[in-house]
């Protein structure tokens, strides 16, 4: 059975005890680990966005931190 991986620390996301700070931290960080396989991704951040590449599952992308206003 496959598990879902935390994009910040790479561990099993179902084990909440492992991710006390991950959700909040992810507001200001791009993903580092592939959610599907847990591999570390190659992440490029630029002023207006980011891209994250998993060798197995391809590229995801995003912008800046969520607007607070």
């Amino acid at each position: 059975m496959s598990i879902e991986h935390c994009p910040r620390c790479g561990r099993d996301i179902a084990d909440a005890s492992l991710h006390a700070t991950c959700a909040q931290a992810m507001e200001l960080e791009p993903p580092r680990y592939c959610v599907q396989c847990g591999r570390r991704m190659k992440v490029q951040v630029v002023p207006t966005g980011w891209s994250a590449a998993c060798v197995e599952h391809g590229v995801s992308s995003g912008g800046t931190a969520a607007a607070t206003r």
């Binding site: 910040r8 620390c9 790479g10 507001e27 200001l28 960080e29 791009p30 580092r32 680990y33 570390r40 991704m41 190659k42 992440v43 490029q44 951040v45 630029v46 002023p47 207006t48 966005g49 980011w50 912008g63 800046t64 931190a65 607007a67 607070t68 206003r69």
Partner: protein
């Protein structure tokens, strides 16, 4: 040169006369007094720092975007840095290609920013990186109206000359912290080696950008030492970072700097360097939040990095620009920086 006289008078009264009226920065002892002000006097210090900024720098705010040309895999052991290849950080090595670099510059310019700093996670640039820089700077200058700055680690004189010839107008090389605390933060090179690069940059005619990170475990005395050392260098710009403890680094468990201490430091650094660009750099989101960001802009800060940082995310540029508009602080225009 600062000429404090410590006659028992109130430090803010002395700073008003010395810094605001005469434009002379506080010395280390005076800076320390600012850093030790009680909580109830922080707003007064920030107001004075703001008055100093307005008098000696003007109301304009310089806006900058930064990008990592070469991410990760750094051979150095700067204890705060997620890009060191020596720590168990999740940051992997990545190179940005030239078309993407130019597009990043274009998008940065579109936000209204006039500065674009190209950064690499290296001890110093090798031939490949200098070639990438030469091609990248040329491509940016052909396509985008923006000043190009660089941050590539420690340089040789030949490399300094090359960067000048490329048209890089400002070079960043942070001292990171004071001389006495540096060995506790970095062991693979020395503070003096960084200072040598900065002297070469200064002598070359490129503008010097030099700052550091507050909250690396330094004492308040060492924070004053750092401000005084930066003032002695007299850089064109001082970027102030606040430590964002990164997973896998030796400082991952370092407590985040208290926002009141961060604001005291902003005021103190401005009162040490009345004419210098002081820039909000990394870590302000987790240390100061929105309210603290505003307090700093009204307390001596006159430049910002907008958007994302090198490996972490920042507020959208539109938010910062809206805040500047609300504070009636004009964005520095490109022609004004040339």
């Amino acid at each position: 040169m600062a000429t404090d006289t410590h006659d028992g008078s109130d430090i803010l009264d002395r700073a008003r006369a010395q810094v605001l009226d005469r434009g002379e920065g506080l010395d280390e002892a005076g800076i320390l007094e600012i850093l030790r002000l009680p909580d109830e006097r922080i707003s007064e210090a920030l107001q004075l720092a703001h008055d100093v900024r307005m008098r000696w720098c003007g109301p304009e705010v310089e806006v900058e975007g930064i990008v990592s040309l070469k991410t990760g895999g750094c051979p150095e052991d700067c204890h705060f840095c997620s890009q060191s290849g020596l720590f168990s950080s999740p940051v992997r090595a990545v190179w940005l290609d030239i078309p993407s670099l130019v597009e990043a510059a274009r998008q940065t310019a579109a936000t209204g920013a006039t500065e674009f700093c190209i950064v690499a996670a290296v001890r110093g640039p090798d031939t490949r990186l200098m070639t990438q820089m030469r091609e990248g700077v040329k491509a940016i200058k052909e396509a985008v109206d923006i000043n190009v700055a660089a941050s590539l680690g420690m340089l040789s004189q030949e490399q300094v000359d090359e960067l000048v010839e490329m048209g890089v107008h400002r070079y960043n090389h942070n001292l990171e912290t004071c001389r006495s605390h540096f060995p506790a933060v970095v062991t693979t090179h020395s503070w003096e080696e960084r200072w040598s690069t900065l002297k070469m940059v200064r002598d070359s005619g490129m503008e010097v950008c030099c700052g550091g990170i507050l909250g690396l475990g330094e004492t308040v005395e060492q924070r004053a030492e750092f401000a005084a050392q930066l003032a002695e260098l007299d850089p064109h710009e001082v970027p102030l970072n606040f430590l964002n403890p990164r997973p896998g680094t030796p400082l991952e468990d370092q407590p985040v700097l208290d926002p009141k201490d961060a604001l005291r430091a902003i005021a103190a650094f401005r009162l040490a360097m009345p004419r210098t660009i002081i820039r909000y750099a990394g870590g302000r989101e987790i240390t100061l939040g929105d309210l603290g960001t505003r307090d700093g802009l009204l307390g001596g800060v006159n430049a910002v990095i907008v958007g994302n940082y090198l490996t972490t995310l920042g507020r959208p540029a539109t938010e910062d620009l809206a805040l500047l508009q609300e504070l009636k602080m004009p964005v520095k225009a490109l022609s004004a920086t040339l």
